[in-house]
Structures are given as C-alpha cells and as structure tokens.
C-alpha cells in the first residue's frame, strides 16, 4: 500500500463536484460520484469526474451501480486514457457509509482514493482532502482498515489557468458575470499587475535602505538577478531592433486590411458579372 501517494486534482473536477452538489435532490445531504484519471508511479492525477445517484439510510447505502458503469463506459469512449481512480463525496467528514461505498470501488480498481470536498463550508472554507484505505492492526490480532489522509494539490495546465483567470473576475462583480476580454485588455491588465509588483518591490528596497527592515541576502540576490536579466544592449541597436519589429507588425496589419478590402471587391465584382450575364441572356431570349 503506497501511503506516500500524492494526489493531483484538476480544477474541472472541483467545479463538477460543486455543480453536482447544487443540483442534488432535496433528500440528499451529500453527493457521491466516481473519479477518473491516470495513475503514474506515486502520483494519482484526477482529470474528470461524474456524479452518481445514491440514497443513504441508517444502516445501508443504495447507489445506482448501473448508472456508474454506464457513465464510465460513455466517458471511456470519449477519453480512452482515463481510468477509474477513486470516488468523491461532499461534506467534511468520513462517515460509516463511506467505508461501504469504498468497498464497492475497491472491487472496481486497485487502491482507489477517496476525495472529500466540503461544499457545506463548515469551517468557512471549502476544504479538500484525499484519503486512501489502509489496513492496520497487529499481525495475529484483529485487523481493520482506516482512511489515511494523503497530500493533495490542485494542478492546472496553461490553458486551464487562462480559463481560471477569466473566471476569477466573476468574484468581484455583483452580477457574478463577466464578458470574455479582448486581447489588448489582457495585456494592459498584466502590465498593471507587473507595475503593482514592481511598486511592492521598490517599497521593500527603500525600507531596507532606510534600515527599517532587515536585509535578506536571498531576496537581494534574486533582485540582482532580476535587474541583470534585462539584456545589456546598445541604445542604437535596441532602437533598430524595436523599429524593425514594429515595422513588420505594422506591415502585417496593413496587408490584412488590404486583404479584407480585396475580399469585398471580389464579392462585388463576381455579383456584377453574374447580373451582367443574366442581362445578356435576357436580351437574347427576346429575339
């Protein structure tokens, strides 16, 4: 049993879990579902999930296994590289029912992980935890198993980060809505962010110079690297390079505008020749 297992979760999975929780039927307090992804040595990467209908009673749990299998098959058709890696549940704690549900998943795959996402916001935060089911006990005596926490973190690829960037804006709007931004705005935003970061750095440096903040050698070295990373270049050379790049881009913009005008012309001329031919054809019929 690899207890030094790491779990990596993609943001899509968390969004899906939260959405399933919002859509649960009135008599369920929590939702459960299957996690799919890939296992690579000591690391389990969860890339997708889907919710399954279930009901919890005092002594037992009812879950629609057909549904789970069906959805897994469908998912396999679209994403054949995703395997079953575990299951999730919303809520903050592990209940006795969790052991029962885990039992089922142990039959489906080797060493499934269990992920909990606290959508009820018990601690004022949406905590995410992952567990594996580890056997414990003294050899020879009664043995049991328990859920042991394993480290879990959220990872995102670059396109996912781009999506998240956009989604984060909804937090600060009253309507919780945001339009997709045009490119130039993104650039100006990034530039503003960079400016803020530079301001913070400058304040720190000035504070150190004043003596109010103790100087830290590590930070000093990183700052030095930062300043040195601007390539040393002759002003004239730099101007030449900048201007030639600018000219290239301006030329491309000009050419694309020209292309657009030409397209319009082409369209109009073809239509003109069509009506021309039609006119000539009409004249002949009259004869």
């Amino acid at each position: 049993m690899a207890v030094n297992l790491r779990v990596k979760v993609h943001p899509v999975v968390l969004f899906q879990i939260a959405d399933s929780y919002e859509r649960r039927s009135m008599d369920n307090h929590r939702v459960i579902g299957t996690l799919v992804g890939s296992v690579d040595k000591q690391c389990v990467e969860v890339t997708n999930c889907f919710c399954i209908p279930h009901k919890e009673y005092e002594e037992r749990v009812e879950a629609d296994i057909d549904y789970a299998q069906d959805m897994f098959e469908l998912n396999k058709k679209v994403a054949p590289q995703e395997n079953l890696v575990g299951w999730f549940a919303t809520g903050n704690e592990i209940t006795s029912h969790s052991a029962l549900i885990h039992d089922y998943y142990v039959r489906e795959t080797k060493d499934p992980i269990h992920l909990t996402l606290d959508t009820t916001l018990v601690n004022g935060r949406m905590t995410m935890k992952a567990y594996v089911f580890v056997p414990l006990g003294v050899p020879g005596a009664t043995s049991g198993s328990m859920f042991t926490p394993v480290p879990v973190q959220v990872v995102a690829s670059e396109p996912e980060m781009a999506g998240l960037h956009l989604l984060h804006k909804t937090k600060y709007q009253k309507s919780r809505a945001v339009d997709p931004m045009p490119d130039l705005m993104k650039i100006s935003e990034s530039a503003n962010e960079m400016e803020l970061m530079l301001d913070a750095l400058l304040k720190y440096v000035e504070a150190v110079l004043d003596g109010s903040v103790p100087a830290d050698n590590a930070i000093g070295r990183t700052l030095w690297d930062l300043v040195q990373s601007v390539p040393k270049m002759d002003t004239v050379e730099f101007e030449k390079m900048l201007n030639s790049n600018l000219r290239d881009l301006l030329m491309v913009i000009y050419l694309s505008q020209l292309t657009k005008t030409q397209l319009q012309l082409n369209e109009k001329l073809s239509m003109v020749s069509v009506s021309n031919i039609r006119e000539m054809g009409k004249v002949i019929q009259l004869d």
């Binding site: 899509v12 995410m128 980060m161 999506g163 989604l167 984060h168 809505a177 045009p182 650039i187």
Partner: protein, 325 residues
C-alpha cells in the same frame, strides 16, 4: 430571438479540458453538445458533453447521445440541447459541414447556437470563445441547397452575412465563487501571468499567415474557375445569338423563294446549358480569410503593445548604465 448567451464557469472549464486534451492526442476538430435552457432572449448553457470521434458509426453516435442525455437527466442536469460546440485553430472553423450542422440544429431547436472555441489562442493565454447563429438568408440558402451564383445573388448573401455573432457572458454561482476563492489560494494566479507578456510572437504570426496564404490560394483558384465559367457562358450566348440570326436570315430567304420555313429547333439541345460552379466554396473561403485577417490584426496590435512596454525598460537600463559610469 437570442441576444445573449450566458455560459456557466463549469462549461468553460469542461470545454478547455476536452478541446486541449484532444489537441494533445492529435485530433484537430472535436465537437460536443451544449445543454441548458432558454429564458426570454437569453440562452443559458449549463452543461456540456463531448461527442465521440467522427468517422465512427453514426448509429453509435446517436445511441451515445441518447444514453448520455438520459443519464444526465437523472442527476437533475438540464437535458435540453441548446446547441453544439466545435474547436478550431486560429479561426479556421468555417466550412460547409459547420453550416449544414448548424442548419439542422436551428431547424429543430430554434434558439441553437454554435460555440467556437479557439484552442490555439487559448494556449497562448487568451480565452477565445464565440457564439454564432445562421442568419435568416443563410437558412433559406441551405434549405434550398442551391449554391449557384444566381441564387446567391437573388438572396443577397455575402460572406459577411453568413453568420451572426451573439455576445457571451460567463456567470458563476455563489458556490463557484467560494470554490474560486479556495483555488486562488492553492493556485496563485501569478503562475500563469507571464505568458501574456511573452515577446516571442513571430512563431504564431508565421503560422497564422501561412493559414491565410493557403486560404487565399484556394480562393484564387475558385475565382479563376468562376471567371472561366463566365467566359464560356458568354461565348455560348454569342453563338446562340449568331445561330438565331442565321436561322432568321435563312427563313427570310426561303419565304422569298416561296418555300416553307425551317422548323424552329430546340435551342437547348444544340447549346447545352453549362452547370455553374457552386458559390459556396468561395463564400466560405472569403469568410475564413476575413476571420483570419481580423485575428492577425488583433495579434499584431497586442504584440506591438508588448514591444512598447520594453522600451522604457531599455531606457532605464541605458540611463542606469550611463549613470554608473
């Protein structure tokens, strides 16, 4: 009449996941269904699921979709299909199949949209999502199936009026906002910020321009075909004219000689009408080139902005160097 498309944050993340995963495994065009509901003039997209890879049995496809919809309905997920999505690279999504698919969607469900997700642009960090619908004229054109130049002229269709764009808004629920706050702590946003200010833009520019050049070459050959056709038709008309005149003259001579005039012959049998080339391809190519050139302009303007940012950096460096000497 749809004026706004509202997309859930979940749908955006699922789109990104599906389209980029597919791109990594090689397939360029992936498609999927959009589910949601319509409320007045607003179309809400609340869920989506991918379709199987194309080229398979279409019956399998239908079964897949039906099973998927049934299962999703059990989980209280909206099961009404409100459109479909397709991935694209740098605005090369326009094609006859797209128009025909959107036509079938729009005739069955009036408010459907086609969502185009640009994977190449998102890989650079700019989320590019556009919603399109067919205009009334295009609907008529596809229904008739007659893409000849005459019909296109009749309906006054130009490549710009093939599709209309609908504005998009992305919305999150309160729980999603809480999730985002949590994610912000775990995934600091600064991690992804540097790609926006990347100065190495020539590679992408070259790819885009190459795509544009290919489309232009195709459009050029289509134009030549069309022009040739026009010339042949013109010549045919002239020959018809000559023939009619000759006939008329001959008949006049015969009447003078008190003989019966020759019977009128079916002109169409003598001069077979030449089928005109379809105007659909040039329209689509023009539309694609239009989109690509707009993308290129936008890309260039943001590259220029980035170049201008480096100027003061260099100036500061130069002045620091000169002051330290």
């Amino acid at each position: 009449k749809i004026e706004l498309v509202q997309i859930d944050g979940l749908v955006l993340m699922k789109l990104i996941k599906h389209c980029h995963e597919a791109e990594r495994s090689g397939s360029l065009f992936v498609q999927g269904a959009l589910l949601g509901l319509v409320s007045e003039s607003r179309l809400e997209v609340t869920h989506c699921f991918p379709f199987m890879a194309l080229g398979d049995d279409s019956q399998d496809d239908d079964e897949f979709q039906l099973t998927m919809l049934r299962r999703l309905r059990q989980m209280n997920i909206d099961h009404q299909q409100v459109g479909w999505y397709q991935s694209s690279q740098f605005a090369n999504f326009l094609s006859l199949t797209l128009l025909e698919s959107q036509f079938s969607y729009q005739t069955s469900i009036e408010e459907s949209i086609c969502l185009v997700f640009d994977t190449a642009k998102t890989a650079q960090g700019f989320v590019s999502l556009k919603a399109y619908r067919l205009t009334g004229e295009t609907l008529k054109l596809v229904k008739e199936g007659d893409y000849s130049a005459d019909n296109v002229k009749e309906n006054n269709i130009s490549y710009e009026s093939l599709l209309t764009e609908v504005p998009i808004v992305i919305k999150n629920s309160y729980l999603m906002n809480a999730l985002l706050l949590e994610l912000q702590e775990q995934l600091p946003l600064q991690v992804g910020g540097s790609q926006f200010l990347d100065l190495g833009t020539s590679g992408t520019l070259e790819t885009q321009l190459r795509v544009m050049m290919d489309s232009l070459d195709e459009l050029n050959s289509e134009c030549l075909k069309f022009n040739k056709h026009q010339q042949i038709v013109l010549k045919q008309i002239q020959e018809k004219n000559k023939y009619i005149q000759k006939r008329a003259q001959e008949n006049k001579q015969r009447i003078d000689r008190k003989e019966d005039p020759l019977p009128a012959e079916d002109l169409n049998k003598l001069f077979k009408p030449i089928p005109p080339p379809s105007r659909m391809n040039p329209l689509i190519l023009s539309g694609t080139i239009q989109n690509t050139s707009e993308e290129v302009s936008e890309f260039c303007s943001q590259s220029m902005a980035k170049l201008f940012i480096t100027e003061p950096l260099q100036a500061a460096k130069a002045s620091a160097a000169s002051s330290s000497q």
